[in-house]
């Protein structure tokens, strides 16, 4: 997903002379071909994220389309005011590419874990927040990114994530994708973003074996959220489950419940929100180790659903 995204910038640069790339202090040789082909449109600007965002804004004010890339924590929380004022207030078409969204940088500890990026980015007016589920979907997204008005935060997964998207399901920024359709009259709906969609598909397969029919809706765009899809799929659901690799406060699950609370005319469905609780991860290991710590692996998602259904009559 990461390599696909970055390489797509080069392809877009060939298509459109407005495209420029800005990095902070990334791998030597990153986009070397683009640097060679378009030296005037490739920038590596050092460990200075506030300036990176301001530069990108200045370029966008002049009609360019900058793709700015660094580690997700540093392109969101480190330079939050520049993102808010320079990009969002001016509503400029700058694309922020955040490496290692969620728990990818598990070995590096909490300074590098982008757990609240979705929450803080979606809080900004004019910002679009995208977390695709795999490299193939990244290709489809990047092809559409050029003409999207306003800033976009692009959350990257680890890379090598299993391909679960399918071209025939299409892709449109802001439009959720039905990945698995349930047929039982009062089924369970799993709503996910980013690579958690793959985990939900695996969980849904397990649940099906146990007679629990689940649909899986993939929200590659957390903002603007496809509120129509949220309402439509939650309408007759026995249980709505949101799953995200991020902090639950203000994140994707909050976005879904915002829609349900504000627009559900006849009462809320039962809701289970899975994500990272209100604390910094205190372990290292691999991304999967931390996903396990927070109950986000497929078998844990399915177990949480069963647990929630077991308590449905009493608790919801």
């Amino acid at each position: 997903m990461r390599a696909t995204c970055i390489n797509a910038v080069h392809l877009l640069a060939r298509r459109d002379e407005r495209v420029v790339f800005l990095g902070s202090d990334l791998s030597p040789g990153l986009l070397a071909e683009m640097k060679s082909e378009f030296p005037q449109r490739w920038f590596m600007e050092g460990v200075a994220e506030a300036n990176l965002i301001g530069m990108a804004a200045g370029m966008a004010m002049e009609g360019l389309i900058p793709f700015a890339n660094t580690i997700a924590t540093f392109i969101t929380r480190r330079c939050y005011e520049q993102v808010a004022i320079d990009l969002c207030l001016h509503n400029l078409p700058v694309r922020l590419i955040g490496n290692g969204g969620g728990l990818v940088y598990a070995p590096l500890g909490p300074t590098h874990l982008a757990i609240e990026d979705i929450a803080i980015m979606r809080a900004l007016p004019n910002m679009t927040v995208v977390a695709v589920c795999d490299a193939d979907e990244m290709t489809r997204f990047m092809a559409q990114s050029l003409e999207w008005p306003g800033p976009i935060y692009i959350r990257l997964g680890k890379g090598g994530d299993p391909i679960v998207s399918r071209p025939e399901r299409g892709f449109s920024i802001g439009k959720a994708i039905l990945m698995r359709e349930a047929h039982a009259p009062r089924h369970v709906v799993l709503m996910a973003t980013g690579v958690m969609t793959g985990n939900c598909l695996a969980a849904a397969a397990t649940l099906a074996e146990q007679g629990i029919d689940c649909s899986v809706i993939h929200f590659h765009t957390v903002k603007p959220l496809d509120s129509a899809a949220v309402r439509e799929h939650a309408r007759d659901a026995r249980l709505v489950v949101t799953v995200e690799e991020g902090i639950k406060i203000g994140g994707f699950g909050s976005a879904v419940t915002d829609v349900l609370v504000e627009r559900c005319g006849k009462g809320l469905p039962a809701i289970l929100r899975l994500g990272i609780p209100d604390r910094f991860p205190d372990r290292y290991g691999s991304q999967n180790d931390l996903l396990e710590l927070f109950g986000l692996l497929p078998n844990q998602i399915s177990a949480a659903v069963i647990d929630a259904l077991g308590g449905t009559e009493q608790s919801f």
Partner: protein, 238 residues
């Protein structure tokens, strides 16, 4: 008040612009990074015909285009929405690089406050401007030596300010920021060095021209003035 002459010289004698076409591609760009100085900018833009002078009377009213900090989407002639300090120089770096990429020869001038350059982002931008040898970029520092909390030398000293900019790769010039002829000479001939961005350190006096406010940090920000003070302000300007 400390930046009135700086803006006056820029708009009278230095910058290229078309009030009837604020987005004219070949215009010079002025970013007022110290957005709290916007009253002086508004007066200049109105005087030059970017919008009617009568709009000045609506300052900060609910439906006014003229707020306490300038917004690009609202005010013709305002290049960037500023007020959060330490943003302007980076915007200018981006604009200067875009101008170079498109082989356009317009200039980018960023007017900064002195308290503002305590922000680390300014020095990030300064390194970047120097790295790219942005001779089409001029930073003007309105160095009145007073910030909201008191003298800059007491709050967070900027000295040696000129040496700092020089060390960061700028060609530097110091000037009396209230001397019209000196400003015209300095700002009109930038870039000083064809391979470097220019920093103009303009020594100014806060509240210049209003004797009872000059050099007094208490006048950095005021609202709800009593009538007698308002009358005294107008008298000082007469």
């Amino acid at each position: 008040m400390s930046l009135v002459e700086i803006l006056r010289v820029l708009y009278d004698d230095v910058l290229r612009y078309r009030p009837e076409d604020p987005a004219w591609p070949d215009r010079d760009r002025l970013i007022l990074s110290k957005g709290h100085g916007c009253l002086a900018l508004y007066a200049m833009l109105a005087d030059k015909g970017f919008f009617p002078v009568e709009a000045l009377d609506s300052f900060c009213r609910r439906d006014s285009i003229l707020g306490g900090h300038p917004e690009a989407a609202k005010v013709p002639g305002v290049e960037a929405s500023t007020g959060a300090l330490g943003h302007g120089l980076s915007l200018g770096v981006g604009m200067a690089l875009a101008a170079r990429a498109r082989t356009r020869d317009h200039r980018i001038v960023v007017v900064m406050g002195d308290g503002e350059i305590q922000e680390g982002s300014v020095w990030e931008a300064a390194m970047s401007a120097s790295k790219h040898r942005l001779s089409n970029l001029t930073a003007v520092i309105d160095y009145n030596k007073l910030q909201s909390a008191g003298p800059t030398r007491e709050i967070l000293d900027l000295e040696p300010i000129t040496d700092k900019f020089r060390a960061f790769g700028f060609a530097t010039v110091e000037v009396d920021g209230h001397d019209i002829d000196a400003l015209r000479s300095v700002l009109g001939r930038a870039p000083v060095d064809s391979a470097k961005p220019t920093a103009v350190i303009a020594h100014t006096i806060k509240g210049k021209g209003i004797a009872f406010a000059e050099g007094d940090a208490n006048w950095h920000h005021k609202s709800r003035l009593p009538p007698e003070i308002t009358a005294a302000l107008y008298a000082a300007l007469a």
